[in-house]
């Protein structure tokens, strides 16, 4: 039998040994001296360069190694040591896939079932000051997405302020609201946490009366009053953070961006929308203006747009929603919310003089 090289795992000495391969054990001799006998059942293979069979003894010195290069010896060892490959567990890929899938499923379940409950419970506990700060962070992100173009025509701003003041006077939002117009063609309106409300220019363009815009604003104020945006943010932020973890994004850097995008793109729950509609109707009735104006505007947008903004496409203006708005007509007619002149100024708020 040819020689093999033995490292005893105690010193780095290279020992040339002769091998005797038997049915029950591998006997190592250095010259005439017996060194060790490895039971064939406990011999394991380790990764080695091609052409070399590197062996270790399970339960023996952890780093003792036997390098066998002679092809005849290698074949004979493979024949006698049945459990050679056990130390190097054959890729249990199935198990890895199974556990990964399990991790993904459990995270998804958390996102779908646990997070909404957490968001629901957490929202009333968060002080207004914290909500305002969160809103500022989201606001920066929103401004970044839309290139920061907030419309500031002087007379338009004055008209917007008049309109907001009248709405504020007739409702109780429970927090300060800041209303502004964002230069974007998408017909949309969003309420951010902390009472910041954005009308998009696209929505203003399609509006035909101050009542329609007032209705939408009142609806968004309803979202603010019910803290729907905060709830959505906790939910979408938590979801993107958890799913980000799955893909190795620990910082949550992606989470802030995705959460904001979700907040803009997705609708609140059906219940939240109905509640905001009711809030808007109340406000309009108190001012003696028709709540159905908002419904008309939404219906018009739905008819005009090929690609619907998400807040319409996921929660379409159902007939039920329209009907309930139509049913509520003011008992007395209040004075117009804006004068003809103010209304024109508001429509042109994005035109810089």
């Amino acid at each position: 039998m040819a020689d093999a090289v033995f490292y005893d795992g105690e010193t780095a000495r290279r020992r040339t040994v002769s091998l005797k391969i038997g049915a029950s054990s591998l006997d190592l001799h250095e010259g005439d001296d017996w060194i060790a006998s490895w039971p064939t059942g406990a011999v394991r293979r380790r990764e080695a360069a091609s052409g070399v069979l590197r062996l270790m003894l399970e339960g023996g010195p952890a780093l003792a190694r036997l390098d066998v290069t002679d092809p005849g010896d290698q074949a004979s060892i493979r024949a006698h040591c049945a459990r050679l490959e056990l130390g190097e567990p054959k890729e249990r890929t199935g198990r890895i896939i199974f556990w990964s899938a399990l991790a993904a499923v459990s995270l998804t379940l958390c996102v779908v079932f646990l997070l909404p409950i957490v968001a629901e419970r957490l929202t009333p506990l968060i002080p207004l000051s914290v909500e305002r700060r969160l809103g500022t962070a989201v606001d920066n992100q929103v401004k970044f997405i839309f290139g920061g173009k907030v419309c500031d025509g002087t007379r338009g701003l004055a008209a917007l302020e008049t309109l907001s003041a009248r709405l504020r006077a007739s409702t109780d939002v429970g927090m300060e609201t800041h209303i502004a117009v964002l230069e974007s063609k998408i017909p949309n309106a969003i309420a951010l946490p902390g009472g910041r409300i954005y009308l998009f220019k696209g929505l203003l363009d399609q509006a035909e009366s101050a009542d329609e815009v007032a209705g939408v604003l009142a609806h968004e104020m309803g979202h603010a009053a019910h803290r729907d945006s905060l709830r959505s943010l906790i939910q979408s932020g938590g979801a993107s953070y958890l799913l980000g973890l799955l893909f190795g994004d620990v910082s949550g850097g992606g989470a802030v961006v995705i959460a904001t995008q979700l907040l803009i793109d997705s609708a609140h729950s059906r219940e939240a929308e109905t509640a905001a509609d009711a809030f808007a109707a109340q406000a309009m009735l108190a001012l003696g203006r028709p709540p159905k104006a908002m419904g008309l505007l939404l219906k018009r947008i739905e008819g005009n747009e090929k690609k619907l903004p998400a807040f319409l496409s996921t929660h379409p203006v159902t007939d039920q929603r329209l009907k309930s708005l139509e049913q509520q007509a003011p008992a007395h007619t209040g004075e117009p919310l804006l004068s003809e002149e103010e209304w024109r100024a508001l429509k042109e708020i994005c035109k810089t003089s």
């Binding site: 020689d3 090289v5 490292y7 005893d8 795992g9 105690e10 010193t11 780095a12 000495r13 290279r14 020992r15 040339t16 040994v17 002769s18 250095e30 010259g31 005439d32 380790r46 990764e47 080695a48 360069a49 091609s50 070399v52 590197r54 780093l63 003792a64 190694r65 390098d67 890729e91 890929t93 890895i96 896939i97 556990w99 990964s100 899938a101 991790a103 993904a104 914290v130 700060r133 969160l134 962070a137 973890l245 799955l246 893909f247 190795g248 620990v250 910082s251 949550g252 090929k306 690609k307 619907l308 496409s313």
Partner: protein, 404 residues
């Protein structure tokens, strides 16, 4: 029989032993491709198994005078390291986020940016990563291991970073020498302590002209810009941008050269007791690998681009439907196909990068090395234990030291 006796009495080992890399490219590629594919159904978790396999292959095929290294780390350890890193990092991130919202003086808090914490952690982790890998490297049945503190190392590294910045990079040779000295002095092979014998001055002498070339291209661009501005040249805004971009290709072209000079100098300084290392790595040794990397990346992107546009052509109607916001099984499958294409792009580029930057450069460096006084390791007595895996986990979670 007698032969083995003789070889024990008079060390037959030559005084010089060449290092060689015996791994076959095809084998490495097979590991890489199958491992990358398994990352898809495992949401990326398979990366720990992939990296472990790659390391085992690289270590086992790296030989000194015909004797191979062995990597004893396991994928489970890496996974645990990642989970520990999550447990460390998540409270930091969340705490920072919540503090930022609650604290009244937001500006005061913003002055300790998170980036700074991560920067310190990165230096700390880079030392722990090295310790982790060293303690899982076995040669002749004896383990390498390391002492030293990750925090002490991070402090040094930060001070040297400041010095390097203040001197526009001139201090880099001394920084590298000092940090490598710290690492090597704390590295042991069994009972034998390591050391690093090269000085920063030696590296400076070898590489100052590259630094000069890079600096000259930047200064030249700035000077040209000032000149054009002075003579009120037309279109200065357009040309100005182009001129400012000029140093970038120069610096990129110099990168393989700088890496080769650095690596050779670093290898030649390595000592383990009496065992010394020398390298005949040529200055241009890395260019071949870099060119292969660039051309195979371009080739891959071309093929991918052609396939992708073909797919886009076939699905053009579905895509239009998708743009209109239509949601159906067909548009859904287009989204899934798109996501898979994106994954294929990422994984393909990862495979190319690891094949050339990981295995390719490794093989070039290993094949350039000659080890002398190898018989001195005979005296090494086993010592040290495998160290913790937090460093590896941090490196994975913070996305640095990617590759092998």
């Amino acid at each position: 029989m007698t032969a083995s006796y003789v070889s024990n009495l008079t060390p037959a080992a030559p005084h010089e032993a060449r290092m060689s890399f015996s791994g076959r490219g095809r084998e490495f590629l097979r590991l890489l491709v199958t491992g990358s594919l398994f990352q898809i159904p495992t949401f990326g978790f398979y990366r720990f198994w992939l990296i472990t396999k790659l390391r085992r292959h690289l270590w086992a095929n790296t030989q000194v005078g015909g004797e191979a290294f062995e990597y004893t780390g396991t994928a489970k350890e890496l996974l645990i390291g990642f989970l520990i890193a999550l447990a460390v990092l998540t409270p930091i991130y969340l705490g920072y986020f919540i503090l930022g919202i609650i604290a009244e003086e937001q500006k005061a808090l913003a002055s300790i940016p998170l980036v700074l914490i991560m920067y310190v952690l990165m230096h700390f982790a880079s030392y722990r990563v090295r310790r982790c890998r060293a303690t899982r490297t076995v040669f002749r049945g004896v383990r390498f291991w390391m002492k030293g503190s990750g925090w002490a190392y991070a402090m040094r590294a930060i001070l040297w970073d400041i010095a390097t910045m203040l001197t526009l990079g001139l201090a880099l040779p001394w920084a590298t020498a000092s940090l490598e000295r710290y690492r090597m002095r704390h590295t042991y092979f069994g009972s034998i302590q390591g050391s690093f014998t090269r000085s920063g001055w030696g590296l400076f002498k070898r590489g100052w002209w590259v630094w000069g070339l890079g600096m000259a291209s930047i200064l030249g661009a700035l000077a040209l810009l000032t000149y054009l501005d002075a003579i009120k040249a037309k279109n200065i805004n357009i040309f100005g941008g182009v001129i400012l971009l000029l140093p970038i290709p120069v610096v990129l072209a110099l990168l393989p050269l700088v890496m080769a000079i650095f690596t050779r100098w670093q290898m030649e300084g390595l000592r383990v007791g009496e065992v010394a290392v020398s390298s005949n790595l040529a200055k241009g040794a890395f260019y071949g690998t870099f060119l292969k990397l660039i051309f195979s990346s371009i080739g891959f992107l071309l093929v991918f681009g052609v396939l992708f546009s073909l797919g886009g052509y076939l699905f053009v109607e579905k895509l239009q439907a998708l743009q209109l916001g239509e949601i159906s099984w067909e548009t859904g499958s287009v989204i899934v196909l798109g996501a898979l294409a994106y994954l294929a792009l990422l994984l393909g580029m990862g495979i190319i990068q690891r094949y050339f930057m990981g295995r390719g450069l490794w093989a070039v460096v290993v094949n350039s090395i000659t080890v002398s006084n190898l018989q001195a390791v005979n005296a090494a007595v086993a010592a040290g234990q495998p160290s913790g895996v937090l460093g590896e986990g941090l490196a994975d979670a913070l996305d640095f030291e990617i590759g092998i």
